[in-house]
């Protein structure tokens, strides 16, 4: 299985330098189609995406991408992880709260 990266040219360049072979770039309007295509690819084990690109996805596609387990989608970047919301929903308490 491979590790794949999806994002802008600037985002993916470093990953290519870090040795990742499967690099995909997409324009904002094609981003959703590409993301859904990649999460349906069984040869990908881990898909890294820029967390700020999640805004380009429709709510339905966003849910599919963030909840995908095969491949595992790891969000990289400053935007808050979707796990926090999931924890709040399942446990009933915001355990990520620092204060």
């Amino acid at each position: 299985m491979d590790i794949a990266v999806l994002g802008s040219d600037e985002f993916v360049l470093g990953f290519r330098l870090g040795g990742v072979k499967r690099i995909y770039t997409a324009k904002p309007k094609d981003y959703e189609t590409k993301a859904l295509e990649l999460i349906a690819d069984s040869s990908i084990g881990v898909l890294a995406i820029d967390s700020s690109d999640l805004e380009l996805l429709s709510p339905n596609a966003r849910r599919k991408v963030t909840e995908s387990i095969a491949p595992v989608v790891v969000m990289v970047g400053k935007a808050e992880s979707d796990l926090r919301e999931k924890v709040k929903r399942a446990i009933g308490v915001d355990l990520y709260k620092t204060n």
Partner: protein, 211 residues
Amino acid sequence: MPAADVKPTRSELLEIKKKIKLTKSGYKILKMKRDGLILEFFKILEQAKDIRDKVNHDYEEAMQRIAVSKAVDGAITVQSAAFALKTHPELSLRSKNIMGIVVPEIEANSIRTPMDQRGYGVIGTSVYIDEAAKAFENLVQTIIEAAEIETTMKKLLDEVEKTKRRVNALEFKVIPELQESEAFIRLRLEEMERENTFRLKRVKQKAEAHG
């Protein structure tokens, strides 16, 4: 099943009693499962928080390093160095079982490549490209660790949610309805018994009056 739909017979009462017993034992087991899952979840929560911080930290560092290398060597040189790489990380997935939930164990090889095997010339490029490459290799390693921990978290949370829904359905819907049906049958049977006694007394009175 609403209480009004239940047949008020002794066999139905016995059947409902059996159902209540079974449902209560199922409820206890599910509650224990939910508590166990939450304990497992708390065990990996700290790891998940740490790995998320590490991903963010490594990402920032890697982006800084690549920005420096682009500024020093130029974007074209960095791009050509990136395209020259020959070795690529490969993942192997295994699975382990946590309270009946299959979670992945991800192993990766060939993430870190020695400088002389990177495919680009050492003389034509600067040390900044090497540092950026090393920083991104670290980031890839961290992403793979995060993938394993975050998938485990997601799966555990899904199972916690599912088990919680089942426990609540049993506690607030199934068991109270069964108990309501049991009470209804019991009352109805008692009522029928009283009616019967009264009827017998009336028959006896009539028999005595005629005798």
